[in-house]
Symmetry: C2
Subunit: 334 residues, 2 copies
DNA sequence: GGTACTAATCGAAGCGCTTCGATTAGTCGT
DNA sequence: ACGACTAATCGAAGCGCTTCGATTAGTACC
């Protein structure tokens, strides 16, 4: 193994000079920098990560905690993880993968042992049991999702309230006057990630502002439940001309149920989905949708962490604006 | 930060004794072990990962290189990654996530800097450009998939040859005499992972042995291509009573195309898929299939690496036997 | 020309751990 | 009772790096 003293000898300087060339923390003459760089290249030198971490108390590794719960859309998690890794590399950091299975203990372990410098936690619930641990951690962290109490934390996520508004406003703009929100399962509205409530709030608030009749309908994530709900909607709200679907697994079933009931999409009924883009794109009928911006959330999380590691103040809450993409499932109200 | 000397003082022993209690590399009296353990717990001591890595030249971290290419089934990658992380933890190791984007350079970097002790590389191609690097690496590695030249490497994967055989034999056992293999896109049969060829070989070999007419049909991974192929099959092989589909994205389209052509599945036509279990299970019609054993591959990869790190000899090639699960898409030949 | 800088470099200490003798007691066999 | 072990423990060296003065030389100012 080639070490810093080898490089130093080869370049005719002291080890500390090599270190300063690498870190740029002191000024070194251009000529010396050149020689040292050449030696490094020639010898194929790589600083020993452990030694560096020990001496500098920085490991240049981030921990990423990914969720395993069922009901999580796997491709989105993956997209997010890739984005985190890619961005971390731009800041000369690597990413350690932790699963939620290990829970609190895992984060504690890698943090207390100084294996990582900072932590990203995905899929944070409204009343997440990991919050006290994250608050007491002596390393910066970023949460994906908003707990009910964000005191002392840094959170980032899609702005679901604005998303609910955007969906309704798109439909209102097309002339729809009676719009339903097909939402998450009922229990999600009490606990969990909080995004369900926020979407509904935004949806209803915008409906109020635009004089649209908006109603919210929680729905289990099964095809059956979706068909049953559509049946009820058709019976009870004959004026309904559009729905927003915020429940990934049943996006397709809902559309199909309306079609099977003789409604043409988007001729008789417009549909806006809140779901990953590739799901909306590759549906039988490409759907107008607001995407989960996994790539951006991942990138921004890392950027926030880097700022925190540099000792900078960062906004405690980052809400990403929704982007609505028009596809083939929405049309002006007939 | 609490360090080993703190624990030593608290327990009334020397630091080296604490270290030996932790590593078990020398015998320590039961009483001392008890006291040291108690102090560790009481003080909340965690060895500093960097210091440990520096002193022991072991980081207890594995690198996992995941693929990003399109055409890779994301949930399988995820399942695999989770299995690697979970198993690694059982051996007191963590997992560093690398993307293929970084390529060779990434592996070199984390390996040469002693950030990781060993490497797992997913999605290895027949003529993978990373092979020379992996061979020259001074750390153990395990490849998921078989390159054409496995000299000096440790590889593991589903036994695709046996998989092709198993599919055909299942159908032969049900009395089918003319069976088609709907395979990967044509180009995959030349380069890439080699699994396509092996499956086809096994399929044809078994067909020969059982006196079955077996034919192989490469197919692009689009619904259109699938429909076109099914049209041709129906026209050119009227005797055909079963197909094996080894091309994830078009499993459903192929089934649908046969149904649309008036063939009942499995009444008139049996279908065996080679694809992830959850895809076969959750299809409209649950499909008889051979699964990609992602969990097992992940687990075994880590076990192989741990053995190599212990200096043990391991088999250069591990072929996992296929498991065929009967579901609703196969029936005796009418 | 002397003080006061800044730029460039070096040497040494120290980060927290593991590991290799060395040391001390105790056990056994004869 | 004495050499020959083994079990249990300690002390010190050293892993490869960063960082903090200290040092030297050169520049600027009045």
């Amino acid at each position: 193994m080639v070490k810093i003293t080898d490089v130093a000898r080869h370049a005719g300087v002291s080890p500390s000079t090599v270190s300063y060339v690498l870190s740029g923390k002191r000024s070194i003459s251009a000529e010396t920098v050149r020689r040292v760089r050449a030696s490094i290249r020639e010898l194929g030198y790589r600083p020993h990560a452990g030694a560096r971490a020990l001496a500098s108390s920085r490991s240049n590794v981030l921990a990423l905690v990914i969720p395993l719960r069922t009901g999580i859309h796997v491709p989105v998690v993956m997209q997010f993880a890739v984005s985190v890794v890619t961005t971390a590399r731009r800041y000369d950091h690597d990413v350690l993968l932790l699963t939620q299975e290990e829970g609190e203990e895992g984060v504690r372990r890698v943090s207390d042992s100084a294996l990582v410098d900072a932590v990203i936690v995905m899929d944070v619930q409204l009343h997440d049991e990991r919050l006290p641990m994250l608050r007491s951690l002596d390393r910066p962290s970023v949460l994906i999702g908003f707990p009910s109490d964000t005191e002392g934390l840094t959170c980032i996520d899609l702005d679901f309230r604005a998303t609910g508004e955007a969906c309704l406003e798109h439909l209102a703009g097309l002339g729809h006057r009676v719009v339903g929100l097909v939402g998450s399962p009922p229990e999600v509205y009490e606990r969990e990630t909080g995004y369900a409530q926020r979407t509904a709030e935004g949806f209803l608030a915008a409906a109020g502002r635009h004089g649209v009749t908006g109603t919210v309908h929680p729905c289990e994530a099964t095809g059956e439940a979706a068909r049953a709900l559509v049946g009820r909607l058709l019976a009870e709200q004959p004026e309904l001309t559009a729905v927003v679907v915020h429940n990934e697994p049943i996006v397709a079933p809902v559309v199909k149920a309306f079609q099977d009931a003789g409604r043409r999409v988007p001729g008789d009924l417009s549909v806006v989905a809140i779901c990953p883009d590739e799901l909306a794109e590759h549906a039988e009928l490409p759907l107008t949708s607001v995407a989960i911006p996994a790539e951006e959330v991942g990138r921004r999380s890392v950027e926030l962490l880097m700022a925190k590691l540099d000792g900078a103040e960062v906004p405690p809450a980052t809400l990403l604006p929704p982007r609505l993409t028009e596809r083939a499932s929405t049309a002006p109200a007939g």
